[in-house]
């Protein structure tokens, strides 16, 4: 790890040009993956503009859960492609992304929830995704630390077990993509904020930045929580509301928890990292905000709920907590593709609380869209036109708590 990181640090800042074929706004996993995939296709006159530092947004703040056991066929196909790319990503990028496929357990505490998991298992299996409903005895073998007794307020009845799910080192994914993209000729400019978008005859002509104007015929909005602000610069209103999402991490413990645990009923999820820390998260804060402040209420309620699942971790100390911002759509699905009214403006937004796992597939397919000018079938369901035609993709059941 030290070797690549040292090389990354000594990478020279690149001289900004006055024009690029493609300008990508946002240096998170999505913007960087698009840049890398464009370079792989030979489109190398590309700049990523990041107002802070790469990974400053959700990509450096998420709880790094990777999975594909979604609810809709569209969602499952899409996320499955991403899991497959992640499985080979360390080799592909020459950078260890520490992907640990320890499995993922979605717990059901009610009969209705068990029925919901059975639907998901069916949808998953039809798409060839490893996903099965298991009972308490099987859960006990996979996660012996769970309280599987009848005593809790919400006893566990069953779980959806998804063996390929797991967690990854999110920073490493960001750095790996950035380093390879830069090696292939992409420009990455940190500390450069886009302040306006230039249009000529209704199509994209370039951007204004805190470092001066840049001409470009294609501008990609990959700013997640800030997506509405960039879209507004091009006169586009999005079906997005920005909500904070919080997480916390405990002191390290001996390895005792293999799978990621998710409980929608308790509004909480928890995983143990390779370093032994417990990473704990919850649902979004229930109001629109761009604030990155974390709250005591989040820590109290999520700690209490984790104790209902894992009573043995009482007394374990919290090391730190933080917040990020999420671009929530009405159907818990992303918005990807061109904006028909503004030629040259490409969206890769609406990533909500679940977009880290989608970085590789979005990068690959959005690059294909830009390079070929045609929308790949796997992206088609996620166009912005779905809101006008009423063809929404209901992923709430699989994405509201388990990110």
């Amino acid at each position: 790890m030290i070797g690549p990181l040292r090389r990354w640090r000594v990478m020279r800042p690149q001289q900004r040009k006055s024009s690029y074929d493609v300008v990508i706004v946002g240096g998170g996993v999505h913007g960087l993956a698009i840049a890398y995939e464009l370079a792989r296709r030979g489109v190398r006159d590309v700049a990523v503009l990041e107002k802070q530092y790469i990974g400053a947004g959700g990509s450096g703040r998420n709880t790094a859960i990777i999975r594909s056991n979604y609810r809709t066929p569209e969602g499952v196909a899409f996320y499955d492609e991403s899991v497959r790319i992640y499985e080979g990503l360390a080799v592909e990028l020459g950078f260890n992304v520490l992907f640990s496929q320890h499995g993922h357990l979605t717990l059901a505490h009610t009969d209705a929830a068990v029925a919901g998991l059975r639907v998901r298992a069916e949808v998953n299996q039809l798409q060839g995704v490893d996903s099965v409903v298991i009972d308490r005895d099987e859960i006990r073998k996979i996660a012996p630390a769970l309280d599987l007794s009848d005593h809790p307020r919400y006893p566990i009845h069953a779980a959806l077990f998804h063996p390929p799910g797991g967690i990854i080192r999110h920073d490493a994914v960001v750095w790996g993509y950035a380093r390879r993209a830069q090696e292939m000729g992409v420009h990455i400019h940190q500390g450069v904020e886009v302040t306006a978008i230039d249009l000529a005859d209704g199509r994209i002509a370039g951007v204004q930045t805190t470092d001066g104007p840049i001409r470009a015929g294609t501008v990609v909005n990959a700013t997640a929580g800030w997506a509405s602000t960039i879209a507004a610069m091009a006169g586009v209103r999005l079906p997005i509301v920005t909500h904070p999402l919080q997480a916390l991490v405990t002191e390290p413990l001996k390895p005792f928890l293999d799978p990621v645990l998710v409980s929608a009923t308790l509004h909480v999820y928890v995983s143990q990292t390779d370093r032994g820390e417990l990473v704990i998260g919850a649902e979004i804060d229930p109001y629109a905000s761009y604030s990155h402040r974390s709250t005591l209420a989040f820590m109290e309620t999520s700690a209490a709920h984790v104790l209902e699942l894992l009573p043995s971790v009482a007394g374990v100390r919290v090391l730190r907590q933080w917040a990020g911002i999420c671009d929530m759509t009405p159907d818990f699905s992303p918005i990807i593709g061109p904006v028909p009214d503004v030629p040259g403006f490409i969206l890769d937004v609406g990533w909500g609380t679940y977009g880290f796992k989608a970085g590789p597939v979005a990068g690959r397919r959005v690059a294909e869209l830009i390079a070929t000018g045609t929308t790949p079938p796997v992206l088609a369901p996620f166009s912005i036109e779905r809101f006008a035609t009423g063809s929404l993709i209901g992923e709430k059941a699989a994405a509201a708590v388990s990110h």
């Binding site: 509405s228 209103r237 999005l238 997005i240 509301v241 804060d285 629109a288 905000s289 604030s291 006008a388």
Partner: protein
């Protein structure tokens, strides 16, 4: 929770007592085209700045009222039973 909101009836209470009801919008006329209605249903200004929105005091007086707040800092600027919608942003007037 993270900040206090001054209910017009009950006074300052923590955010957890309230339910957020979304930014102020103007409902289209009933015979508006479908595109106007779908824009009203889904599109939002989602401003990073001063927002006027509905809030419901669910754990108090159970009244809906409006809050002007900076969404970057959660600073509450003013509250009232009704506030004029901001005219900046394409959607403020529906």
């Amino acid at each position: 929770m993270s900040f206090l909101i001054d209910c017009p009836l009950c006074g300052p209470r923590e955010t957890g007592e309230y339910r957020y009801g979304g930014e102020l919008q103007t409902r289209p006329l009933p015979d508006s085209p479908v595109s106007t209605w779908s824009a009203y249903l889904y599109e939002r200004t989602n401003v990073a700045g001063i927002e006027r929105a509905w809030w419901f005091h669910r754990a108090g007086c159970r009244r809906w009222f409006q809050v002007e707040r900076d969404t970057r800092t959660n600073e509450v600027i003013r509250v009232g039973w009704t506030l004029p919608a901001l005219t900046t942003g394409a959607g403020a007037d529906g």
